[in-house]
Symmetry: C2
Subunit: 374 residues, 2 copies
């Protein structure tokens, strides 16, 4: 079947690009002597997770227990949650520990004590890492304001917790305006983690793992000393945001949206059937780069067609402006492909996506962990 | 069961508010002599659609055929698609016509001719309305640039199409900065439609229906002459956007997100487990009103707690700033309720939501038409 026969809008992933992206990141990690543990939030597919593991990944990451439950059901045997799981979920953690190697982060002593009590009560133990805030200012122990080493040592002493190491996410890299700025963030992250590890070591606690994760910083972190694990997720598909950050080229982008022109009310405006329920309202760098994705020049091409700006999304409509001085022959019924701003959130809207080889549909893929938010 | 026992994050809808919202809009429509045809995109629930019909609605609207298929499966017998459905979907339209009263819009003569050919080939006919662009500049025939009356008369003459009337959506009301501005938009919309109808009438074609739809304009349109049908959708739940537009009060908002504090890394910052996979990155008036929803003062209250700004969303985290000079005792494990910016898109992320009566969980409700984008 050709992609032109598919109901629209829909999501296509290019099989060869997915495999190439998986292999390149694996090679980069291995060349730097790091273990690769991809974040599965991008694809939410057990099939793709098992492919990543078969090609060398040590395991995967998920954000929430609900995702981990789906991947554990599909025999993914090592799952890390770089998320501050709350002890209110102890029943689910205990159930998961029976069927997969599970680890998660702590960044709060009361929460860590809660887990310690829960594990002790169940005569069990669980692997944890201390989350260090390396400048994104979301979760994590901030070494600027807190004695991070003292925090780590306290966690190391709690019964029921097996402290594996430190973990960070340099999410601020998504706001960077150059590849140099991204590299600087990666270097600073490694420096902060190394310093905490050394101070903890001086206090008599050896840390086995230093885990960092984000696709934009991954290629730099791969070559930095002191890091043991990389946790990028988006690299399996890439998207417009990653191209803007210099982390990928357009023809690395494996996920595209196939959309149809449904109205052409004006020579300067056309309407596609891919609204925010397909593309989401996620922006690139807070809207600094306008539009909700890029339209490609042809169905078999990866080059953005600069004539089109996806200017506004309603839930089921994309309003596309045809730039002044240019023309387009697109009429209702015609198809276009779009590289979205952010691939991970597009996956999360789909129950099923299409695996393609060029314009040929190879397979359907269930996004089995879609919508697992708890 | 109490809401405090639910896995978080999750979506709660308050049963009494839903019923009150349904009844008030029905009464407003009837008081103005209009038929009410709610847009089901907000709830995507056959149960709620059937409740709306039982309380007086003439039928429902859906955006896409995929949604209509779900509602038709659940015996909703009159479904209008205010969407420029493309003739490539003729097979699905013909199948739907066997089991529900279906109508949709046209705004392009070639598309209308395509439908006419498809219907003639199947010896069938379908109800259509001509979409008029009343200033939102998305779909529709724009009377400023096109002879709309001539367009309507041409559609009226096409075999296989039963022209029912005119339809519009004053989506520009969502950008209005005062209730007066919203009223002005509603008045202008009615004026444009009345003029087209009169010109069409002078050309010998009588139009039975004049259908307008948007929650912010609905209370004004209800009282305006010349309109026969109202198609608001959001009013069943309301949200922060509607309160900002003066269309609702906080205690009309029936949909809330129950979220849990998962990290409190700083006295000025707390992290909730409700990220963009729960709240979406939809903004109010392009971000003019900052934040991704409002945190409520207490689990049993509808008053926004002005100390908190939901400043940034990651997929699974909400980063909440505690405003300078204020404090909060919230710690990891604590629950909060949030009124989101935009209720419709939150529904679309959920497979199931909870019907509540105060803090008591009354029922689970499947969002059966979630994700039906084709």
């Amino acid at each position: 079947m050709k992609i032109t026969s598919l109901r629209t809008p829909c999501v296509l992933i290019d099989q060869r690009r997915v495999e190439r992206n998986i292999d390149r990141m694996q090679q980069a990690a291995e060349a730097g002597g790091k273990r690769l543990r991809p974040h599965a939030k991008t694809h939410k597919s057990p099939d793709l997770a098992l492919t990543q593991v078969a090609r060398g990944a040590i395991g995967i990451c998920c954000a929430k227990l609900g995702e981990a439950e789906v991947f554990a059901d599909h025999r993914v045997s090592d799952i890390r949650l770089p998320y501050p799981i709350n002890p209110v979920n102890a029943d689910r953690v205990l159930a998961l520990l029976d069927r997969t190697q599970l680890s998660f982060i702590v960044d709060d002593l009361e929460v860590a004590r809660g887990w310690s009590r829960q594990m002790a009560a169940a005569s069990r133990s669980v692997d944890v890492l201390v989350k260090i805030d390396v400048g994104f200012h979301r979760c994590g122990v901030d070494p600027e304001t807190t004695d991070a080493a003292e925090f780590v040592v306290q966690v190391a002493e709690m019964p029921g917790l097996r402290l594996k190491g430190l973990l960070s996410h340099a999410g601020q890299a998504y706001g960077a305006t150059s590849a140099d700025a991204v590299e600087e963030i990666a270097v600073r992250e490694a420096g902060i983690l190394t310093e905490v590890r050394q101070r903890v070591g001086a206090m008599g606690v050896a840390l086995e793992e230093i885990s960092v994760g984000a696709t934009p910083t991954a290629r730099f972190s791969a070559a930095l000393p002191g890091i043991t694990e990389l946790r990028p997720g988006n690299y399996i598909y890439y998207d417009r945001m990653q191209v803007a950050l210099g982390a990928a080229e357009w023809d690395d982008c494996a996920l595209t949206v196939l959309a149809r022109v449904v109205s052409r009310p004006d020579p300067k405006r056309l309407i596609l059937d891919s609204g925010s329920k397909t593309l989401t309202n996620d922006q690139v760098r807070g809207g600094a780069l306008p539009g909700y994705g890029v339209v490609l020049q042809a169905l078999d091409d990866s080059t953005p067609d600069e004539r089109f700006v996806i200017e506004r999304l309603s839930e089921e409509h994309a309003t596309v402006r045809v730039l002044d001085g240019t023309t387009s022959t697109l009429v209702p019924g015609d198809l276009v492909r779009i590289i979205p701003n952010h691939a991970c959130v597009v996956s999360n809207l789909m129950d099923e996506i299409w695996v393609v080889d060029g314009e040929e549909v190879a397979d359907a893929l269930r996004v089995a962990a879609r919508g697992r938010i708890t």
